[in-house]
Amino acid sequence: MLKKHSLPRATTSFVFLILLFIGVGLINSSFLTLQNIMLNLNSSVIYTVVAIGIAFVIITGEIDVSVGATLGISAAICGTMVRDGNPVQGIIIALLVGLFIGLFNGFGVTVLRIPSIIMTLGANGIIRGMIYVYTNGKWIENIPLEFKALAQAKFLGIFTWFYFATLVAMVLIYLYMTRTRTGRYFKAVGDNPNGANLLGIPVVGTKIVAFVLCGLFASIGGIMYVSRVGFITPIAGNGYEMKVIAACVLGGISLTGGVGSVIGATIGAAIMASISRALVFLGFPSDYDNTITGILLIVVVVFDSVLQITSAEKVRRQRLSAKIVHAEISTPEAVENEK
């Protein structure tokens, strides 16, 4: 990670992922089989989808802690309708709910100027409450087998279709964010909002779009959840916000905005899923999972912030020192002579 400026952070995260596999594989060799590796990647699909969505928001310099709840309510809505025999309707309504939550958050953050952590924390509470009202606190079970089979369907026998489609979407989004005019606005807005405004870039609009995409991807995650997990509890998706924020940060997306890519988010999500499984292979109880995620998140953020503070202070000092006149060369006569 020290080579941050020469290598993109996504690359170092990828190396970290490989080292994780090798390290755990040395202790328990069954972790390092192709089958297990694919199982790890395929099991990271929901983290990946939600992380790609939240990446838009983090890259514009904001945060969204309501993604877990958005996933939960989308899963609950989609789940009940699939159970009752209306899968298409269920998917559409779940997506609309995600879109609406994104609009709500985006509106609050940009137009009402509520700090995004507070706005989405509030949204998180509202949505969690609504899940209980909607489900009466009961589990949603009896999802038809055909719907559950979707998550298991394989492409070329290795990737699940879900994961394969997610990777394709990631590549398309990556191209969109790096190659198109509007796609590049996300980084510009996160990097320097005032500068973006002076160049006529719609700062408010870009942020709202980021929140809407984030909500949409969280609800896609919810739909996948119904198929993969097969039952929905009222607390479905709890803790996903920390997992996906950690995934983004591990993948090199800066919490201050303007830095990172969805490729990094995808790699980060794979790391998150692999850590959970690695614990099992190492014989630790999975109870440690959240603690380790939290530690990783803080370590990476502290590391980044120390780097940032030192480089900012260095720049400030350079600028101040540049202002001092060096008496021997600065007289206009000397300048005239140089000419």
Binding site: A196, G200, I201, R319, K323, I324, T331, E333, E336
Partner: protein, 502 residues
């Protein structure tokens, strides 16, 4: 409409602008021809930035007209100014630090990136500028960042470039290459408004010069018609010569006095080789323009910034490089320049603001609130601060009353030396008089005061001795009877040093 308006690239006529009761621009007329470099000079608060913000569409004028190439225009937002061919290169370039140079330049255009890249390369070829397009903006020096800003402006086919103090953070060599760039642009027929604090630059680069003072243009014409002395006169208030200054106090006899503060060859970030002493019962004025390094000197003395070399003594005791807490314990108190940023706790009450510097002495485990009340009342009464009570929210006080509370707080630690950084900025005339009385009162009680101010009249009225800082160095020291508007202004704008070197 006069012919001049038709011939000019940019003309502004009779521009007025006021913020609440404060009239900042009082009828500005200005013309700029193609290929002309107009140096715009003025002290702090003269209205230069307001005028530029009006040209950029950030502010709207209250009255007056703006013409571009003979056509009247209404610059209601930044994108309209951009499309009219006006581009401002701010003092601190507004780049995207995490993007490459190329991305920074082409951000915000509608054309496709390949065409833009081609145009950019052609433009750089034409001007013979070299900069690595794949470098990240955060790794660029300020000079290179300015170049990127200029490229942004030129890619938009701007005809009028505004450079806001472009040399203020540049090294000597960078200044030379900037001047070469300005010459290139001049030849291309681009009009430039060049804002600066350094009079010597005017004669090196400008074709025309205009001086602003208190919202009016006091002097305007081709640069050949003027000398540096004439420019300095233009910066002075009209009544400077005739005005009777308040009766000056007797000059202090320093022969037997022991200095409270001695600064010896101090270097820090933003200033170097600064030596001076402050004696008890004296006010030492420190003049200079914003960015000269005065605030950095103060924050270094009080231990917030790093000392690079040199020493600071208080009553003979070396306190170089000690922490702020220790420096304060040794008797130095600092009233910062920007009240809102560093001076006040806005949503706390007056009492909490008064005691904040002295919490160590207010009881051990629990606060001694009686002591806080006494302290607050003492300074509120002594300074005639207008408050509804001790519990009034600090943010709801007027600027002058806030400043009185801040000064009271600085005195609560019973300092031997008080550093006041722009003590009356943004304060109305009546409160200003009160603050002056307070400062004089403190001086009479034997406190040593270092007064940093951009307001020359303030330095003249209060100081027993003065010195001026220019580009990080003390370039002149003044005894009581040498302090005049003329001499201070000359030194603050760097003319003195040149004269002495000539």
């Amino acid at each position: 409409m006069s012919d001049k308006v038709h011939e000019s690239m940019l003309s502004v006529r009779n521009i007025f602008k006021a913020f609440t009761a404060n009239i900042v621009l009082k009828g500005i007329d200005l013309d700029l021809q193609a290929g002309e470099v107009l140096a715009l000079i003025g002290g702090n608060g003269a209205g230069k930035s307001t005028l530029m913000k009006i040209l950029m569409g950030i502010y709207q004028p209250d009255a007056g007209e703006i013409y571009i190439a003979g056509n009247q225009v209404k610059l209601s937002k930044p994108s309209i100014s951009l499309s009219q061919g006006i581009y401002l290169v701010p003092q601190e370039p507004m780049l995207f630090p995490n993007m490459t140079v190329e991305d920074n330049v082409i951000m915000g255009f509608k054309e496709n990136p390949k065409q833009l890249r081609k145009r950019l390369l052609e433009l750089m070829e034409q001007l013979d500028w070299r900069i690595d397009l794949s470098r990240k903006a955060e790794s660029l020096s300020i000079a290179e960042q300015q170049l990127v800003e200029l490229l942004r402006g030129l890619m938009r086919n701007s005809r009028i470039l505004i450079l806001d103090e472009p040399t203020s953070s540049l090294t000597f060599n960078e200044v030379k290459s900037l001047f070469r760039i300005v010459e290139d642009l001049k030849k291309k027929g681009i009009s430039i408004i060049y804002i600066t604090h350094r009079l010597s630059e005017v004669f090196m680069i400008a074709t025309d010069v205009a001086i602003m003072r208190d919202g009016v243009i006091t002097l305007n014409g081709p640069v050949e018609q003027f000398t540096e002395d004439m420019l300095v006169k233009g910066l002075l208030p009209e009544n400077a010569k005739s005005k009777k200054l308040k009766q000056k106090a007797e000059a202090i006899d320093y022969s037997n006095a022991e200095p409270v503060l001695t600064v010896d060859k101090l270097c820090g970030h933003g200033f170097c080789d600064v030596s001076f002493s402050v004696f008890p019962g004296e006010i030492l004025g420190l003049a200079g323009v914003v960015g000269a390094g005065r605030t950095e000197l103060a924050t270094t003395i009080i231990g917030r910034d790093e000392v690079l070399s040199g020493n600071v003594f208080i009553n003979g005791r070396n306190i170089t490089g000690q922490s702020t807490r220790k420096v304060m314990d040794n008797g130095i108190s600092y009233v910062p320049e920007d009240r809102f940023l560093n001076g006040i706790f806005k949503i706390s009450d007056v009492a909490a603001n008064s005691s904040a510097s002295n919490l160590n002495n207010m009881g051990h485990l629990f606060m001694n609130f009686n002591q806080e009340r006494e302290l607050t009342d003492h300074y509120v009464n002594a300074f005639r601060t207008k408050v509804t009570g001790r519990s009034q929210e600090m943010g709801s006080l007027s600027g002058g009353n806030q400043q009185k509370v801040v000064i009271g707080r600085a005195l609560a630690i019973k300092p031997k030396l008080l550093i006041l950084d722009e003590p009356t900025r943004g304060i109305d005339a009546a409160a200003r008089g009160d603050v002056y009385d307070i400062i004089q009162g403190l001086k009479a009680k034997g406190l040593a005061i270092l007064l940093i101010s951009s307001d020359m009249e303030e330095i003249i009225e209060l100081s027993d001795r003065a010195m001026s800082m220019y580009c990080g160095r003390i370039n002149k020291k003044f005894s009581k009877n040498e302090i005049t508007q003329d001499s201070l202004m000359t030194a603050a704008f760097g003319v003195a040093e040149e004269a002495s070197n000539a």
